[in-house]
Amino acid sequence: MSYAEIFQPQRQDGKMQVHWLDFVVIGAVAAGVWYFYNQVNTVLHYNWDWNTIPIYIFRWDADEGQWVSNLIVQGFFITIRLAIWSILCASVLGVTFGLFRVSPSLFLRLLGRAYVEFVRNMPPLVFIFIFYFFLSDQIMPLIGAEDFVHHAGPTSIWIVERLFGPANLFANFLSGVMVLALFEGAYVTEIVRAGIQSVGRGQWEAGSSLGLSRFKLLRYIIIPQAIQKIVPPLCNQFIQTIKDSSIVSLISIQELTFLSVEVAVSTTRVFEVWITAAVIYFFICWGLARVFSRLESKMAESRGR
C-alpha cells in the first residue's frame, strides 16, 4: 500500500471530492492568466500574429510547384538526427567505459571514473565550448569531413543527405554529434555500470565456479540480465539527449533551437516563435516518454509470463 492509498482515499461512489485547496489553486491560476492577458494586451500592446509561423513550417515553392519544408521542420529533423547519432555513439562509449567501471583492473576503473566525474561535474556549456574548439581546429581537418563532402559523388551525397541531413552542413553536424556523444557517454556509462552491478553477486560466483572466462561470464550470464536494467534508462537518456541537443545551437549547429533563434530574429515575432519551439520540444519528448513507458510495461508483461 502506498502513501497515496492511505492519504488519498477514493470515494466509493466514484464522485469527485472537492477540497478547499481546489478553490485556492483554481483562483490563483485564474488570477495569473488574467494578469498575463492584461499585461500583454494593455501594457505591452503586443500584436499577436500567428500567421507568420506556418510559413516557417512549410512554404510554397513557386519554382518547383510544391510545398517544401521550411526552417522549423528542417530544424526538427536535424535535432532528431543529431539525437539518434549521438545516442548511438554515446552507447558505444558508454558500454566501453561502463565495462571499464566494473573491470578488475584498477587502471581501467580509474579511467572510467575520471571520464564520468569530469563530464558530470563540468557545466554542459563549458564542456561544449572547449570541445568545439578542439573539434573545429584539430579533429575536423584531421578526418577531412569537409574534403569528403567536396569530392563526393552524387550517390554518396544522397546517402549522406539521408543519414546526416544537408551535405553542406555535414562537418557542422558531425562536430555536433561528437560533442553530444562525448557528453552523453558519461551518463550512459553510469547506466551501464548500474545495470551490470544490479546483477546479483551469486551470478558472478556461479559463473566463475563453472570455470567461465571473464569474457564468457559477461557474454552469457551478466550482460543478458543487465540489458533488462539498462534499456529503460537508456530510452530516457535518448529523451535527455534531444533536450541537451538544444545546447549545441550555441556552437552554430543548425538544429531546432538555432533555427528558432534565426526565425525569431528575422521575423521579430519573438513570442510566437519561442512558444512554438517550446511546444514542438514538448510534444517530441512527451510523446517519446509515453511510447517508451508503454513499451516498458509491455516488456515487463512479457517477462512476467
Binding site: Y3, A4, F7, Q8, M16, Q17, V18, H19, W20, L21, D22, V25, V29, Y35, F36, Q39, V40, L44, R101, V102, P104, S105, L106, F107, R109, L110, L111, A114, N121, M122, P123, P124, L125, V126, F129, I130, F133, D137, Q138, I196, Q197, W204, G207, S208, R214, L217, I242, K243, S245, S246, I247, L250, T257, S260, V270, W274, A277, A278, Y281, F282
Partner: protein, 283 residues
C-alpha cells in the same frame, strides 16, 4: 576476483596502506594510479603540443591578472572572482526558490485536491519535456517582458523553475520514504496531519533529503553557466568577454573549467560524505 568493483567504505585504513601497499590480499594500486597520472599527463601534453603545432601561441602568463592584480599597490579583484561571486549568488537564490517550488509541488501532488494535482502535473511535465535553453529563451523573451523583471532575476527564476522539478521529486520521495507504520502510529495516537508532519515525518525525511538537495545546489552551479546566453555576468560570461578581448580561448576556457570543476567536485564530495554518514547511522 570476479565480483564487480567496489570497496567497503567502512574499513578505516591508513592512506599509506590504501594507496601504496594495497589492502590485504590485493596487489598494490600504486602502478595503476601512476598509469592514470601518466596517461592524463600524456593527454595534456598532446593537447598543448597539438595546439602549438597549429600555430597557437600559449600565453598562460596573461591569465593570473584576471583573478586579481595590484593597481598602485592596491589589490583589485579580477573578472573571474566577480564571475564566481555572481554564479554563487545565482545558485544560492535559485536553490532557495527551487526548494520552495519543489515543496509546494510535492505537497500539491500528494494532496487530496484534484486541481492541485493537475497543476503539479502540468508544471512537472512542462519542465521535464523541454530543454533548459528553450526555457531560458522563453523566460527571457516572453515571460520577463510581460511581468517586467530584470535579467539577473529572469535567469534565477528560470533556473529555479527548472531545478524545482527535481526538488519536488526529492522532497516527495523523502516524505514517502518514511515507513507506513510511522504514519499509522501517528494517526493512532491521534496526531493531526500537521503534527504528524511536524513531529514524526519531517524529522525522519529531512536527513534523507539533505544530500540530494545539496546535489541540487551542485547542479545549479553547473547549469547556471547557461544563463550566460542572456548576458548575465556570471563566470562563463566573464570568461567569454575576456576571450573576446584577448583571443586566449584555450587558456581561458581551461581556467573556467578548472574553476567550475573545483567548485562542483568539492561540493560533490560533501554530498558523498553526507550520504556516507547517513548510511553509517542507519545501519
Amino acid at each position: 576476483m570476479v565480483a564487480p568493483a567496489g570497496v567497503n567504505p567502512h574499513s578505516e585504513i591508513s592512506v599509506f596502506r590504501k594507496f601504496v601497499l594495497g589492502r590485504k590480499g590485493q596487489k598494490s594500486p600504486l602502478l595503476d594510479i601512476m598509469m592514470v597520472v601518466v596517461l592524463g599527463g600524456a593527454m595534456l601534453w598532446a593537447t598543448l603540443r597539438g595546439a602549438a603545432s597549429m600555430g597557437y601561441n600559449w600565453q598562460w602568463y596573461r591569465v593570473p591578472k584576471y583573478f586579481w592584480r595590484y593597481v598602485d599597490g592596491e589589490l583589485v579583484w579580477g573578472e573571474f572572482v566577480h564571475g564566481v561571486l555572481v554564479t554563487l549568488e545565482i545558485a544560492a537564490w535559485a536553490v532557495l526558490i527551487s526548494v520552495a517550488v519543489g515543496l509546494l509541488t510535492a505537497l500539491f501532488k500528494m494532496s487530496n485536491s484534484m486541481a492541485g494535482r493537475v497543476l503539479a502535473m502540468v508544471y512537472l511535465e512542462g519542465i521535464r519535456n523541454t530543454p533548459l535553453l528553450v526555457q531560458i529563451y522563453l523566460m527571457y523573451f516572453v515571460i520577463s517582458p510581460i511581468i517586467g523583471i530584470d535579467r539577473l532575476w529572469t535567469g534565477i527564476i528560470a533556473l529555479a523553475l527548472y531545478e524545482g522539478s527535481f526538488a519536488a521529486e526529492i522532497i516527495r520521495s523523502g516524505i514517502e520514504s518514511v515507513e507506513r507504520g510511522q504514519w499509522e502510529a501517528a494517526a493512532s495516537i491521534g496526531l493531526t496531519q500537521r503534527d504528524t508532519y511536524r513531529y514524526v515525518v519531517l524529522p525522519q525525511a529531512i536527513p534523507i533529503m539533505l544530500p540530494p538537495l545539496t546535489g541540487l545546489f551542485v547542479n545549479l552551479i553547473k547549469h547556471s553557466s547557461i544563463v550566460s546566453v542572456i548576458a548575465i555576468f556570471d563566470l562563463t560570461t566573464e570568461g567569454r568577454n575576456i576571450i573576446a578581448d584577448t583571443f586566449l580561448s584555450f587558456e581561458i576556457w581551461f581556467t573556467i573549467a578548472a574553476i567550475y570543476l573545483s567548485m562542483t567536485i568539492t561540493l560533490s564530495s560533501v554530498v558523498n560524505y553526507m550520504e556516507y554518514r547517513l548510511r553509517k547511522r542507519s545501519w
